[in-house]
Amino acid sequence: MRSLLEELMLELLKTYSPTGNELNAVRKYVDIVRTTGIGEVVIDDVGNAVLNYGEGSKWLLLAGHIDTVPGELPVSYDGEVFKGRGAVDAKGPLVAMTVGALEAFKHLRNTDGFKVTVAALVGEEGRSPGARALIKKNIKPTAIIIGEPSGCDGVVIGYRGSVKIRIKCYGSGGHSSYPEGGLSAIEEFLKSWLRIKELSKAHQHLSLGVNYIYGGQPFSVIPKECEGIVDVRIPTGLDIENIKSEINNHLSNHCTYEVIDETPPIKVSVNLPIVRALIRSIINNNLKPSPVIKLGTSDMNILAALTGNIVSYGPGNPELSHSDYEEVSIEELELGARVYRDTILEFLRINS
């Protein structure tokens, strides 16, 4: 198990794959997995790598992602710790789930009536084209495990939703030596934003941030246009439509808004068969399972449209995600791979 973990992890880390530029990493993944001779691995029409094993009406999908946030980092492995972009989010979980699944396949026969798929999805750090392609295909897995870092004991049962809103504000123009004589689009944006920001005080666990702002020009002109993108994160239990409506009500009359991306929040029960299988597997690997709600958003929010029997799990310290200090140890990857392997076998046992 260790040598395949090391080879796959190191090769994927060396193949920098920021969102939108995953093809070389996907090819590398396919080439290495093919050398095992287990299952069938292909690249689908949107560029996801997909490893299939077995046939049957009971179908477990393990969905990791192969893209990373931008920002290449030096890659190293000293025999204990891997460092590099994506070591935590989420090449580590992808490698562990792949090797864990390959180990599980050794215990299964193609005739067991189960199908297991491991998908290395593209674009998760962007608009999730890889996950959305699975939704379009309307596939019907019985259960899904998302591969995201949660620590070897963390069972992720929920993620907040997100809404990205483009706000455009309009001013009058005029000479900026006399600002009182006109209306500034930038000031209208800021007025709106300061009002919108207050919504986080009214709703627990709701967060709002400005990710981008552009407006005005470097001349003595009262700004005629200003545009910004607001990132809203929505906890379970809060209605997205209500929040959008409240944001609209807080806008200046000189501003408009447009939703450019929307993902609903998700929270699942620990009673679900796939969550129970994961928890039992963690216990059987001598760890105490710890349920986690994530403040971010992941492909779990999207893929829950395929089945509500879904959970997220993966080795690696989630606090290092997207940082310049991404690292994960071979021990964590081995433990994570064993947990994935045992979860697959436990889930198939529960459902047999």
């Binding site: 129970r276 928890i279 349920p291 986690v292 971010g296 958003t297 989630p318 606090e319």
Partner: protein
Amino acid sequence: MIIKCPICGGDVEVPDDALPGELIDHECGITLEVVNEGGSIKLRPLEGVREDWGE
């Protein structure tokens, strides 16, 4: 097996093969943890759900 919920007193169905450390959401809204006390299976409220950021 059926065990009483330590919070509401209602029945909780616990799988016969449940392991200490397994979790169960009860209909009263509480999440319970399976524990082994002196050789018998009991339930206690889970101490809390962790929160962390990340995608």
